[in-house]
Amino acid sequence: MSTLASSSARLEDAAPSWRLRFAAMGLDGVTLLLLPAALFLVALFIYPFLYGFVLSFEPKQGGMFANYARFFSDPFFANTIATTMKIAVPVTILNLALAIPIAFRVRLLRRQRLLTTFLVLPITLGTVLVAEGMLFYFGPQGWFNRSLIALGLISHPVRLVHNYWGVLISLVITGFPFTFLLTLSYITGIDPSLEQAAATLGAKPAARFRHIFWPLLLPGLAITFCLSFVQAYSVFPSAVLVGEPAAATRVISIAAYQSAFEDYDYSMASAIAMIMAATQLVVVLIVFAGRALVYRGPVSSGKG
């Protein structure tokens, strides 16, 4: 007993080894597990990004900022920002508006997993398959138009592909599952006893949503909005396949693609990519600034 005590005392007296000192700073063998991911990030994101950033300042002709000047002075380029926003913002809002009520209902279901699987299925299809399907289904001779005509609701087929609406529908189909899953996880994270407490205090369902769920959900919805928006903003395949890539759906990624692979101007393409990143960042920053103004603490009651 006494020898044990004295030996441990001696251990404490000795200076800790370099291994222990690094471990105290959070660096130990387990840290090495981060290495593959870090290499991956550097090789496939940071390096190409920096490369493109530098490349964008080395235009084919003109000074350092010639590419940027050209982008903003030529409406053919500059207008792609507005075009992309006009698609991405409504799509994101629409996806959220659809996801919130559905997630609200699904959270109460006992067979939640079955319905969730069903709702998430489109994520596995990929944009191209969805676009193919849409061309048939929403085309002038598709089931959608034929059904509406047969029901007497319309006399001529409505155009829902090869225009703005085609891209919008396609992005809702492919973007909804992601938005929904994220929203569902935020909603189910809210302690259900809060709603019960509100009910016993006399709050009707609408008031419970407005005073309890909505404020607690808002920070999560802001993040969901940003992630969904970024996805929609970088739309490319559906803008080409079910859109009108020469006019109404000439999104910013098409402009970048054309510069790179039709004009072979990689410098210009890089500049467009940088502008794309910057405009996304502006939207994300605006949303996060708004998020900073609302309550962001825990969504369950203090203890329990």
């Binding site: 302690d191 006893s193 809060l194 019960q196 407490a197 509100a198 009910a199 016993t200 205090l201 006399g202 709050a203 009707k204 008031a207 005073h211 309890i212 404020p215 607690l216 309550y295 603490g297 825990p298 969504v299 369950s300 009651s301 203090g302 203890k303 329990g304």
Partner: protein, 371 residues
Amino acid sequence: MNRATSARSTRASRAGNGARTFNELRLESVRRDFGTVNALRDLTLTIQRGQFVALLGPSGCGKSTALNCIAGLLPVTGGSIWLDDKRIDTKRAEERGFGMVFQNYALFPHMTVAKNIGFGLRMRSVPSAEIERRVGEALRLVRLIEHAEKLPGQLSGGQQQRVAIARAIVIEPPLVLMDEPLSNLDAKLRLEMRQEIRRIHAGLGSTTIYVTHDQEEALSLADRIVVLRDGMIRQVGTPAELYGAPSHLDVADFMGYRNRIAGKIVRDSQGRAYVEIDGAVIEGSLRSEPKGDHVIAAIRPDDLVPTRDVKQGIEAAIEAIEYRGREFHGLARTPAGAELHFSSSVALAIGAPVRLAADPKQVLIFDAEDA
């Protein structure tokens, strides 16, 4: 005291303008199933205005289910709930207007303490000047006036608990429901909050239904205790009735009759009942007429003490003894292997033989089939 009487008088003055009150709450054959599980079967109970009623039972006995059914958070599967002559089980929780205190407090984390407490009043469209006054009154009652503008996350467990109570009572509900409100607190705070709850109940003159699995809490707080078991009522009575005369073995178990010794019933010519245990005989009072001759004697550890009288008591060997402050608490084993918990005023050696006896008035005899 001053505070309590002023709270009572404001309540009385407001009773005229809409504060609903009632004479009795009746549960008639209330049933609640979860799939194939019967959480509550045939619960019939009447609660008078002003009472403090504890629903007591082990986990899974249906006590929380009963409370949620009364609150309107769970629909009943069968039966009905009445407030005097108004049927309320068909109404939604927000229409019943009962105050509820949740086990995890369920405070709105994004609202300040004052906003939390005022929530029910805002839902009732009470003018804001009156909300402010009543919230202030409630904050004083639970002694949290200086924490009004804090968020719940900044408060300690006991403070959060008091906010939850204030939020439930500020709407002046005819009935306050509490679901194990003290189970998340440490032992010292639990004692303090027990007194606080009792004080608030007395001050407001409200009716309270209190769910707990802690018999000490039920005994100290309630006017009436309802012991539940497997979704049914086992016994209803005052704390003294339940403590002194439990009707069933499991109620006795809850009330501290830790020794349950199986034996055979023997009677003498005067009709007195004895239990024969390992050749020894102890006298007791019969709680129910046994069907066969197998019975169980229930004795509290405090009532089972060593005796020098060789004609009395049960012979056993001491296995463990521990000091409990004023006395010793011991565990002994009979030759047949039964464990006996007893108390002793002197320390006894482990392994020593001992004869343990109890006052016949403190020995309860139950039918063995009752267990």
